[in-house]
């Protein structure tokens, strides 16, 4: 790309002709090429977002008919609801634990999967399975496996002597969130590991050769060469996982399905219950919760990017 541009510098420096460089296009032409994508995104992403804002300022009856303007009532109701503190805390624990564990295990797994060994292809296929499977199906599967009476996990752990009596993984408040986090990590690892394998592949071999000639050991090579060069991939892994995990619905919806109240809900499932499952079906309240969620994820990602220095990292 650099070569192509330098070749055209003289042409551009003659102001009289003002010919556009071949790489630039007029706006109407762009509209032609991007139009279909734009229409779809405006219609089904932007429009619902606007609808969400509008809905949050109105009240609705139980079947969803608009009753009238609500001002900020939905927001004050949402922000003062007694369950919000617990729900925000659950969300923080859920996102932080799943993202951190996923990144750490993902890094290790990626390192392993980029080594060459007999049968690697099968291991890579196995890692794909939770990624390709619908989250809701995997969640149902874990719901049974975690079951107090019929679950294989209790059976397995008791067989190994790790626990001596069955644990109510999805009913006992002390174990529900950790169990859900375990499933969250399990389903997030494949994508993350693959992202890091891609990142590792993009690191030029000669860098490692130079390190080897300099006599750097395995750990130093990893810390001083691999990790810094993997930084863009790690950054993207953290941001995308934050978004995915925050928005993750099926794992909590299914695994926490039989518990009453909001004791283990995250902001997403809390919002969903307000909108579609609570006795009031309060769409206006749920819309303000939805906007709150959008804001939270924007802030969280923004703070993270600020913290790690997005510009500096993407330059690498």
């Amino acid at each position: 790309m650099a070569i192509a541009t330098t070749g055209r510098v003289p042409a551009r420096s003659t102001p009289r002709r003002r010919r556009r460089t071949p790489g630039t296009a007029r706006a109407w032409e762009a509209l032609l090429w991007l139009g279909p994508a734009l229409i779809l995104i405006l219609g089904v992403v932007v429009y619902p977002a606007i609808t969400l804002v509008a809905t949050s300022f109105n009240t609705y009856d139980i079947v969803g008919l608009r009753k009238g303007p609500a001002g900020f009532t939905n927001y004050t109701n949402f922000l003062t609801s007694p369950d919000l503190g617990q729900v925000v805390w659950n969300t923080t624990v859920w996102v932080a634990a799943v993202v951190v564990l996923t990144i750490l295990v993902g890094l290790a797994l990626a390192q392993f999967l980029s080594k060459e060994f007999f049968g690697r292809r099968f291991v890579r296929w196995a890692v794909i399975v939770p990624w390709a499977s619908a989250l809701v199906i995997t969640s149902q599967l874990f719901r049974l496996m975690f079951d107090y009476y019929h679950g294989i996990i209790n059976q397995f752990l008791m067989g190994l002597g790790i626990i001596h009596k069955p644990v109510d993984w999805l009913g006992d408040p002390a174990f529900t969130m950790p169990s859900m986090i375990a499933v969250g990590v399990f389903v997030s690892i494949p994508f993350t590991a693959y992202l890091f394998v891609a990142g590792l592949n993009a690191i030029p071999t000669d860098v490692y050769e130079a390190a080897r000639i300099d006599g750097a050991g395995a750990w130093r090579t990893y810390r001083d060469i691999t990790l810094p060069l993997l930084r863009p991939a790690i950054l993207i892994g953290v941001v995308l996982n934050m978004i995915y995990v925050f928005n993750s619905f099926p794992v909590i919806w299914i695994l926490n399905g039989s518990n009453p109240g909001f004791g283990n809900d995250t902001l997403i499932t809390y919002m969903y219950k307000l909108a579609f499952k609570s006795s009031q079906h309060d769409v206006g309240l749920a819309a303000s919760a939805g906007l709150f969620n959008v804001l939270i994820i924007l802030i969280a990602v923004g703070v993270y990017l600020r913290f790690v220095g997005w510009r500096e990292a993407t330059k690498a």
Partner: protein, 295 residues
């Protein structure tokens, strides 16, 4: 930067570091063994699923449970396949996934090609919009999506699901395709335009064949995302016969009936083709993610 996709397409190399000789001999056994353990960790839950699908539902709920079935029977698969409800869910899943994938590809290819090749006013705004789309998973907007389709009378329609799945998957397809388009040397395209091809002709006849792995990856990703979508379908489809598999299969296990072996048989029918599809593009996957993500 533009070479990253090409480089990633070449097979990954071994990283030669100085290691004691004993390790070099040992790793021939240690690595495959560790690999087998990793494989088991990721497969084991789905093995449990298979074994539960292959026994009567009553035995799934035995307490204590056994790992292997006491009675082996493939009956659940037969019951599920001949269940008209299941056939309807499968039909919905197929229609929705295929239609939304076609829409995404038709819409994302020109957009990806154009943004990879040309600068124009509003390019950054467009790319910003795409990033934001990716952040607003349908989940956080689901109340707004529900209101929109409610207002347009599209609750309980395939159209609603197809449009939503298509719109929210444009972003990822666009990133992948853009990386592949950007990796093709400009000279190839310039030669084609000298030959007299228009821009669209150049894209179709010269660029598309060169980016086929990218297209395949984008197609697979979109198809799987639409096939596995849950929350939008759960919200927009109340009519049992119009539900997709992800929502429908859950009705095998409710407060009133506990047909776990049927749930798992149906689940396996939903999972296996997608896993195979995914495994087939595994090689392109890494190239696609490098191109899309490492930049």
């Amino acid at each position: 930067m533009t070479t990253s996709a090409l480089r990633a397409a070449s097979p990954p190399r071994t990283i030669a570091t100085r290691r004691p000789k004993g390790w070099r001999n040992a790793r021939r056994f240690v690595l495959p063994l560790a690999g087998f353990v990793v494989l088991l960790v990721f497969i084991a839950p789905y093995l449990v699923m298979l074994l539960d699908a292959l026994r009567p539902s009553g035995e799934v709920l035995a307490s204590p449970p056994t790992f292997l079935p006491k009675t082996w029977t493939p009956a659940a698969f037969g019951e599920v396949v001949s269940d008209p409800a299941f056939q309807n869910w499968l039909k919905t899943s197929l229609i929705v996934a295929i239609c939304s994938t076609i829409i995404v590809i038709l819409v994302a290819i020109p957009a990806a090609y154009f943004t990879a090749r040309f600068t124009f006013r509003g390019r950054l705004a467009f790319l910003g919009l795409i990033v934001i789309t990716q952040m607003f998973a349908p989940t956080s907007l689901v109340v707004g999506i529900y209101r929109e389709f409610y207002d347009f009378g599209l609750i309980n329609t395939y159209t609603a699901l197809i449009l939503t799945d298509a719109a929210f998957n444009i972003a990822f397809a666009l990133w992948i395709l853009q990386g592949f388009f950007a990796a093709i040397p400009k000279e190839i395209e310039e030669a084609a335009s000298i030959d007299g091809s228009g821009r669209f002709g150049t894209m179709i006849r010269i660029m598309l064949p060169l980016t086929l792995p990218g297209v395949v990856t984008a197609v697979t990703f979109t198809f799987i995302a639409a096939w596995n979508e849950y929350v939008v379908a759960l919200t927009l489809i109340q009519d049992d016969s119009l539900k997709p598999l992800t929502v429908g299969v859950n009705s095998y296990v409710t407060a009133y009936q506990q047909n776990w072996s049927q749930l798992f048989a149906a689940s396996l029918i939903a999972i296996v083709p997608v896993v195979i599809l995914f495994a087939l593009i595994e090689k392109h996957l890494i190239g696609g993610m490098t191109a899309g993500a490492v930049k």
